[in-house]
């Protein structure tokens, strides 16, 4: 019995409402945090940090953003890439045009601007659901693609349309090595996860889930659908906007409008579905899966002597995503996070099969 619930009596509601109710989970998270903050920096090389861990962390943040909207509030969005783009270009323009504002404040302001756009494009959700809402958010995606490509003010009239982020100066700390960037992203990921977890175990999160599960009953206990939906759009796009800032400023450094295309929106949707809708942990699992799979496909066949072309790898990638998404949607809408939970429950009872 690796996981033991028996014998751990919770003596107060505060303990019962803690994020990690089981001692094993608490120890687990401390170990993971120690590895993330201290262990990895000791061993990871530049490639691992730059090509895997930093994008993984940023995508996890974006996936948490989408998960709050889709997994918790039940509102589908195909425009997460657009919210990331809004965040990235807002931060770029703020840094460019108002250099006296500290960069970190720019980041938060960019998140707020993305939240504002999120509210506006969340308005259709008050009237339409499901597929129609998906199409409405898709419209935002195309609008953003168009605006950042064609409205040259956003890209400061650079001839190629590609822009470069200023040096990352966080209140005097110049973040320029991969390790420092990793720590910065890790800090954002931890903060976002905690923030999201607190929201979903509070009144606001419950009102989102109530809307997701049965909006009619939600209304009758005094939840206002408009507040619940628009707040979910706002928080979700704030987080997505922040992730966009990190993606642009920390991961890419310089980028083109294409960096936040529909492709990004779909990838995030895949992460949330595969990782687990309605789970913060699932957002991390989904991001990890989607970041690691292409690398795995690139390296493993080569190791066993099979030579795959780059095109083949990317085809395989999409085939695997496609299959997994169908399988998860049919059998396990709660994704990898749910599989992990089932595994834990098994461990909790093991070796007694009762």
């Amino acid at each position: 019995m690796i996981y033991r619930e028996t014998g751990q009596f919770r003596t107060s509601y505060a303990e019962d409402q803690a994020i990690f109710r089981l001692r094993e989970d608490r120890i687990g998270i401390i170990v993971i945090l120690a590895i993330a903050w201290v262990g990895i920096p000791l061993v990871a090389d530049e490639y691992l940090l730059r090509a895997i861990l930093i994008p993984f962390l940023i995508l996890s943040v974006a996936a948490i953003g989408l998960n709050l909207l889709l997994g918790y509030c039940g509102q589908i969005s195909l425009g997460t890439g657009a919210f990331m783009a809004v965040g990235a270009y807002a931060a770029y323009n703020l840094a460019l045009r108002l250099p006296e504002i500290p960069l970190l404040i720019d980041f938060l302001l960019a998140g707020l601007i993305a939240a504002g756009i999120g509210i506006v494009f969340g308005l259709p959700s008050l009237r339409i659901k499901g597929l129609y809402l998906a199409v409405a958010t898709l419209a935002l995606q195309f609008f953003a693609d168009w605006a950042f490509l064609r409205v040259h003010w956003f890209t400061n009239y650079t001839p190629s349309g590609s822009v470069t982020a200023p040096p990352l100066d966080i209140f005097g700390w110049l973040v320029d090595t991969p390790l420092e960037k990793y720590w910065l992203c890790l800090a954002f990921a931890c903060a976002t996860a905690l923030f999201a977890k607190n929201l979903v175990r509070s009144r606001i999160g419950r009102s989102w889930m109530a809307i997701r599960d049965m909006d009619i009953a939600a209304e009758i206990i005094g939840i206002r659908p408009m507040h619940a939906k628009l707040s979910a759009f706002a928080v979700s796009s704030f987080i997505a906007g922040l992730a966009g800032v990190l993606w642009a400023f920390v991961h890419l450094g310089s980028w083109e409008p294409l960096a936040f295309s529909i492709d990004m929106s779909f990838r995030l949707l895949f992460m949330v579905i595969i990782g687990g809708m309605g789970s913060i942990l699932g957002s991390f699992l989904g991001a990890a899966f989607i970041t690691i799979l292409p690398i795995f496909l690139n390296q493993v066949p080569a190791m066993v002597g099979i030579q795959l072309s780059t095109a083949m790898v990317s085809h395989l990638e999409f085939m695997i995503f496609g299959t997994l998404i169908v399988l998860f949607l049919i059998w396990e809408p709660h994704g990898l996070a749910r599989l992990w939970q089932i595994g834990k429950e098994k461990m909790r009872l093991w070796p007694f099969p009762y």
Binding site: Y13, N198, R203, I204, A210, I220, I221, I223, S231
Partner: protein, 279 residues
């Protein structure tokens, strides 16, 4: 027809004396309510009132308009004609949010729980209107964000205890058997500390034991907290046993209104309703 007897006769007599003292002024009145769906007249010119502290039954054959009546009362349907007088204030229409805010809670004929959430979270949603924490207090789990959660959790625990469902607090409600789901739905309504509790067939589909439990809970809620109850029920013995006054609807019209005794002896009711077997 299944029967569930909860109160022996002598106790019932004692109760009616006590009740005469408990029942107060008119809490809610519906006046000349008419509701149509296209060509279907779900309600035609229905008027009755509900007094504070009483248990008011609404009965009638299938399709009589009972559920529609509850939907009008809590603002879910907008009647074409008539008005609602809630605590002395006349309204031409009630909105669901205002009904909730004003102290009206309800359960549904087809259970309307939040399937993906645990029993505890479902009932906690009933406390949403009592919570004031700001967004940042919730996001950072500080101040009222934390203290309210603990306070409301303690309140909800008392309800779990009262309805004898503490053992399922962490179970997702989608996994619960039907009878328990009905109980969780009642718990969620009670969590709102309503002045008026609307119950749409709270005992439908239950076995005898579950029905008796449910009757006991309804009576306890009414007596201990003074909550006014309006319930729709098909089981006549339950209705006769626990209600103070009964409204009978038939084809959307008000057929009779009175004490269980009066209604039972009303020739129109006997013909239209009691003569026909239900359940």
């Amino acid at each position: 027809m299944a029967t569930a007897t909860v109160t022996p006769p002598r106790e019932a007599a004692e109760r009616s004396v006590r009740r005469a003292r408990q029942i107060g002024e008119v809490l809610l009145a519906v006046e000349n309510i008419s509701l149509r769906f296209g060509g279907v007249r779900a309600l035609s010119n229905v008027s009755f009132d509900i007094r504070r502290g009483e248990i008011r039954a609404i009965i009638g054959p299938n399709g009589a308009g009972k559920s529609s009546m509850l939907n009008v009362i809590n603002g879910f349907y907008q009647p074409q004609e008539g008005r609602i007088i809630w605590k002395g204030r006349a309204l031409s229409r009630m909105r669901p949010y205002d009904a909730a805010k004003g102290g009206i809670a309800r359960t549904f004929q087809n259970i309307a729980l939040f399937k993906g959430m645990s029993t505890l979270d479902n009932i906690m949603t009933g406390r949403i209107l009592k919570m004031r924490a700001s967004f940042f207090e919730q996001a950072l789990w500080i101040g009222r964000g934390k203290s309210e959660e603990l306070r409301e959790r303690a309140f909800v625990e008392r309800i779990l205890d009262f309805l004898e469902i503490t053992h399922i607090r962490h179970v997702p409600v989608g996994k619960l058997p039907y009878g328990l789901q009905k109980r969780v739905e009642l718990a969620r309504a009670l969590a709102m500390e309503p002045e008026l509790l609307l119950l749409d067939e709270p005992m439908a589909g239950m076995n005898l034991e579950e029905k008796e439990d449910m009757c006991r809970f309804i009576l306890d809620v009414n007596e201990e907290f003074g909550t006014t109850v309006a319930l729709i029920e098909h089981d006549m013995s339950v209705v006769m046993d626990i209600s103070d006054r009964v409204v009978v609807l038939d084809y959307g019209r008000l057929l009779a209104d009175g004490t269980p005794e009066e209604v039972r002896n009303d020739p129109a009711v006997i013909e239209a309703y009691l003569g026909v077997s239900h359940g």
